[in-house]
Symmetry: C2
Subunit: 221 residues, 2 copies
């Protein structure tokens, strides 16, 4: 009986140790992604190397390679993580109740925060064309899925007269353009926080969907 308790304790102890190591590893990975996206932003992706990323993450290059094999892999996880968070925000908007304009406004603010918040999303300024060929297809597929999901929300809003009539595809791309453009002009050292900017941009972006002067159509006041 004592032996069984002893074995169970040891097993529990090992399991906890593994969990701790896994948590530590996940935390370090996130710190590396954050450091890397700041390096990509300041030096440009082409001029950034694993050495600079290791330096920014306060790791030895050897240690960095225990987490990621290459800067392409790091970029992949930066973009992939951003897209996962965008998808999560889209799920919230899909399932929420209330006017579609409110749900799209919340989605827009979350989208901007994903891109210019202080985590790995700031690598979002890197264009499709700059993505290494090996990871491009997977990222583009995920981006397309996200765009389709947003378009379905917009199209539904137009169909139900909650949003102004217009070509749902073009209107959705304009909406996403206003949001995505923040990754180009946002400077972390600026006077306004990412959260403040996200609110103003989201108001603008939803305004484009709901109405314009004498063109307002089916607008819910």
């Amino acid at each position: 009986m004592r032996t069984i308790v002893h074995l169970l304790n040891r097993h529990l102890h090992n399991a906890r140790g593994e969990q701790r190591r896994a948590r530590h590893r996940a935390k370090t990975r996130l710190e590396i992604l954050r450091a890397a996206s700041s390096v990509f932003r300041s030096r440009g992706y082409a001029s950034s190397g694993m050495r600079e990323i290791a330096l920014a993450a306060d790791l030895s290059p050897g240690n960095l390679y225990r987490y990621f094999r290459s800067k392409d892999e790091i970029l992949f996880f930066c973009q992939d993580g951003t897209l996962d968070r965008l998808r999560a925000a889209l799920e919230v908007a899909r399932k929420a109740r209330g006017p579609v304009s409110t749900r799209l406004r919340d989605l827009a603010a979350a989208h901007v925060l994903c891109l210019i918040g202080d985590v790995e999303g700031s690598a979002a300024h890197i264009e499709e064309g700059e993505l290494p060929r090996a990871i491009r297809a997977a990222i583009v597929k995920k981006r397309d899925d996200y765009e389709h999901g947003v378009r379905a929300l917009v199209a539904g809003g137009i169909r139900h007269g909650e949003l102004r009539r217009g070509d749902a595809t073009i209107v959705t791309r304009s909406f996403l353009g206003a949001l995505n453009w923040t990754a180009h002009w946002f400077r972390p050292e600026g006077s306004q926080s990412a959260a403040e900017i996200a609110q103003v941009v989201a108001d603008y972006a939803v305004g484009g969907l709901t109405g314009a002067g004498d063109r307002i159509k089916g607008n819910h006041a």
Copy 2:
């Protein structure tokens, strides 16, 4: 007397010849810019060379070099030409009478057409970071001037209660983001013409300035 007439005729003849040659040269330059921007779009700027541009413009490489010294110079004139046309559209919007929302709507449509129309503007998808260092400062300065001009129009509209209240800088960048994003997603082989797309995007972009649901402020109906 006959000699003077003869001389005058010869002078006129030479002047006409020069004008004709200048016109021909300007036409060829424009054709080169158009061909180059299509090459940049399909191959990416980094992978495009003078050889490919010459081929697309139906010129020998040697002949191409009589017009432009390098692909950087070609890119400069592509972007510079687009910015000249944007500035001209801004001047029209500035001087026009009528509601600022109508003037900004016309400007937005002209802006999109500059970027995705069939002339040299399609090189507008090339990002600041990709611009060769030698030409970057001049282009960025001109882009900044244009942005300042648009912002002044937007700020005036907000001040006079014609546009919804909001941070004029952020709102202007969101407006330009919706417009600029077209350069990323537009495909010339798509089913809609650049002109049709410009109208939908312009409606969207001005909608963001004028109002959104219950947030409408000082909207002129």
